[in-house]
Amino acid sequence: MCRLAAITSNEYFSPMENILALNTMKEGHDGSGLGLVLKNLGGEFEGLKDNPILSAICSEKGLEIMDNYMESLGFYIKHVWKPVIRNSPDIPRHDHYIANVYEYPKAYQDRSFKDKEDLLMNTRLTLRNMGEADSSIFVFSFYPDILTLKEVGDPLELAEFFGLDNDPLKAKIIFAQGRQNTNYQIYLYACHPFFIQGYCTMTNGENTAFIPIKEFLESRGNPGYMGYNSDSEVFSHILHYMARELGYPLTYYKDIVTPLTTKEIQGRKDRDAVLMLKAALRPLCIDGPNCVIGFTPDGTTFMLQDSKKLRPGIVGGVKGKYSLMSEECGLDRAVPERDKTEDMFPMKYDMVIVSPDAREVKVWNQLKG
């Protein structure tokens, strides 16, 4: 099992908070990797909200290839962030960890944001293709106000490796995953959280319905629905598909991934729509044990459980700062000042939704709709 630590706040905070929370849950991850996604960035990124940030790991050769390609597309570097690496004997160091902030190519500057999003995604996919075979380029995200860091190793050691304890890097939403390597080889592209065009999820679990879901997503005709080095990547893509492509409100994500029985649906006011979704998106039903934590472009964060509630998950906090964690000890580390009696343990019908800026938290019950 992996361990998850997500924090959403109305103030900027350091990713160290997530990592220290992860460290309290160390029994649940084996230090085989860390994934960090930061959204609503502060510090040096605060004035660059509209510019896309390319988060990648490169070799010397890969960096040159990447720079040349980006230049050929007309992307110009506006700002560069690089972690100050402190070498560790346990962490095999890559040549470059980069987060470059770009200016859009001139031809795209007046285009719609949707067009820009597609350009960014396609650029990311091309870079991935260029560097995947020889591992010269790993690109995790290319999107405004999003920064991703991934590496193999123990989360706390990696935090020191990246110098996060001294770096002023801050954000208002940070997702962190401490990896428990299971079915797949330790591979950077298999590390959560997964991000696509504003939508991000990370999962604690095992997706037994992976193949039918993967085949369904791959056949949607969206080039971004690829990769799948981890069976959890589909959770991000399902969210993206239902929210961005189909335009459904967020709570229907729960209806799609853990559908109610036909009898249960009869109790919903929107039963006709839910029945249609259940049929039309039948292959997207997840099975097996899964706790999914995600965010959407507007900064809403959420947690939901599989239909048997087979994984741990807790949400708690105070107005202005909520945390969505695998375990209570992580929550205690992240928001110790909260009223513990208000903690939420979402069960099989629940979806806990924290509004942007951590203004409020509500539990949406699938049976009631």
């Binding site: 319905a209 039918p212 056949s219 853990t258 839910v274 998106l281 099975d287």
Partner: protein, 551 residues
């Protein structure tokens, strides 16, 4: 002078030429005559032999010879009365004195063509080897990283959908701030939530009244008492008028085939129907006998059958191998699907059934483009039939596994794997592994499976097997009373017992399906296309089906 061939029986067959040899034990037989009376083909008869007995009654051997006449049960060597191995004689024998034994050295097919008539029979393909479906295993076992579910404790939803499913992009939905609403007056194709094992098409006429009634009662019980939405197909030949007008019609799929038998009655009943049927099946082919039409022999066309089918009594009812109106799939099939849809106001799923074939994908792709086609039913070569030429049964057709898999992967390529459900049939449960075969087909891509022969065997004890046992369905002399219209034969069959067995079969199979799905971590939806769960025991099969090979 007597010709030599008459003296040495040279133009007769030996018992070793026949598929079954009767083993009769003189010492046990009481000569009650039940076996000879019950034999459906008169393969055995009472006879007398002269016997030479040597005995001695003194203290020292003083043999005396006497001749006496004894009564025996003798197997005839006439190929028209060959022992079919049904074993009805053994069933009725009070002293276990008789039983047929399969003769693997038989040369039956070499001789079974008298008067230029090829061998015709019922049953399924006579191939007792292990089927592909039985070479598939479920090897993705959830363990510690993804805990297995508990088949006895957790909730399982073993249901599937029958009907054309609109892709999400085409759903008539409007998104508000937090809810979705359905646009008014939008056409939604009819979709039924059913149990993933259907009882396939077997007609009243092919089946005896108690058999059909037993199946129908079992299906109604499963739906109304056990809450298992099992559906059953009428087969070609209509349904009893009272059933057409009853609330139970919703558990039945009405089949229309090339003879259109029974449809006069159905059309007349339309205005009086209280419920819509579960679906309409247009039969274009049958996996057991591609290229062979249906034939209900005249002696099966009694008053009840003639009434339901709207034909005179005692005439042969032949359904042509092809629909006479069918000249192209683009037009004729589309029109037929549309006409049938229209008859029920587009409220009933309409789908075609074809026999397994290398050209199945061409049909599939045509249906995928037809928005009114509700499913594609592919019937593999191991399916059963009531009457066909042996050559059609044994040598024509396509196995279901790769045919289904190709079609499913074709739909995956087009992104339509959830829009057009595939129904797979033909050999499901051939070796008794109904749940395992069903689950394997589902994981290869089937939305549902259909059974025919299996339910006849399990619910009514049909003797037929892949060693050409019995297979008398076409003769109307079914010794179990399943495929006969002769009251003397079908009175042997108690419809209540058939119904009970149908319920037994579905309930036990449901438990077995849970036992398969639970350790694979699947419970919420049917694992359609979950091919990573399957492995084949032969590398070639694994490669062909694009699944794992495990040894």
């Amino acid at each position: 002078m007597e010709p030599a061939e008459r003296l040495d029986n040279n133009h007769e067959l030996t018992l070793q030429d026949l598929p079954y040899i009767i083993r009769w034990r003189e010492d046990r037989c009481t000569r009650c005559g039940q076996c000879t009376a019950v034999c459906p083909v008169k393969a055995i008869e009472a006879d007398v032999f002269s016997q030479r007995l040597v005995s001695s009654e003194s203290n020292t051997p003083v043999p005396s010879v006497a001749r006496s006449v004894i009564h025996v049960v003798k197997q005839v060597r006439d190929i028209d009365r060959y022992c079919t191995g049904c074993g009805t004689c053994a069933l009725v024998c009070p002293t276990v004195a008789i039983e047929p034994e399969y003769n693997p050295h038989n040369r039956f097919l070499t001789f079974k063509n008298k008067k230029g008539e090829p061998f015709t029979r019922g049953g399924r393909r006579n191939d007792p080897s292990t089927s592909t479906l039985d070479k598939l295993k479920f090897t993705r076992i959830s363990m510690l990283t993804d805990p297995a579910l508990d088949a006895g404790r957790h909730e399982f939803h073993i249901r599937t959908l029958l009907g054309r499913i609109l892709p999400a992009e085409k759903l008539p939905l409007e998104a508000g701030n937090s809810t979705l609403t359905v646009k008014k007056d939008a056409f939604i194709p009819p979709v039924r939530e059913i149990y993933p094992i259907m009882i396939g098409s077997m007609s009243i006429g092919a089946l005896s009244p108690p058999m059909w009634e037993g199946l129908a009662m079992g299906v109604a019980y499963l739906n109304e008492v056990e809450n298992m939405p099992v559906v059953m197909c009428s087969g070609e030949g209509g349904m009893p008028p009272s059933l057409l007008r009853s609330r139970f019609l919703k558990y039945f799929i009405l089949q229309i085939a090339s003879g259109y038998f029974g449809w006069d009655e159905i059309i007349h009943a339309l205005p009086h129907m209280k419920e819509d049927p579960a679906g309409i099946e247009i039969k274009y082919g049958q996996g057991a006998k591609p290229g062979d039409g249906g034939l209900l022999m005249s002696y099966k066309v009694l008053k009840l059958i003639a009434g339901i089918r709207g034909v005179p009594m005692y005439i042969d009812l032949a359904s042509p191998p092809t629909h006479q109106t069918k000249y192209s799939i683009e037009e004729a099939v589309a029109k037929m699907i549309q006409s049938m849809s229209m008859a029920w106001g587009f409220r009933v799923p309409v789908y075609p059934k074809i026999s397994g074939t290398r050209t199945a994908q061409a049909v599939l792709n045509n249906l995928a483009r037809n928005p009114y086609a509700s499913a594609l039913y592919i019937d593999g070569e191991d399916g059963g039939t009531g009457a066909a030429y042996n050559v059609s049964m044994d040598k024509m057709g396509h196995p279901i596994a790769s045919n289904l898999r190709d079609c499913y992967l074709d739909l995956v390529k087009q992104g339509k794997q959830n829009e057009l459900p595939l129904i797979a049939a033909g050999g499901v449960g051939k070796s008794g592994n109904l749940a395992a075969n069903t689950a394997a087909l589902i994981m290869l891509g089937a939305s549902a499976v259909a059974i025919g022969k299996y339910i006849m065997q399990a619910a009514a004890g049909c003797f037929g097997n892949e060693y050409n046992r019995c297979n008398l369905c076409n003769t109307g002399r079914c010794p179990r009373g399943i495929t006969t219209q002769d009251p003397k034969l079908y009175r042997r069959l108690d419809p209540d017992k058939v119904a009970e067995r149908v319920v037994d079969v579905f309930k036990s199979t449901d438990i077995e399906l849970r036992k398969i799905f639970a350790p694979m971590g699947r419970s919420t939806q049917l694992p359609i296309g979950m091919s990573d769960g399957l492995s084949a025991s032969e590398e070639e099969i694994a490669r062909r089906l694009n699944i794992n090979f495990a040894c």
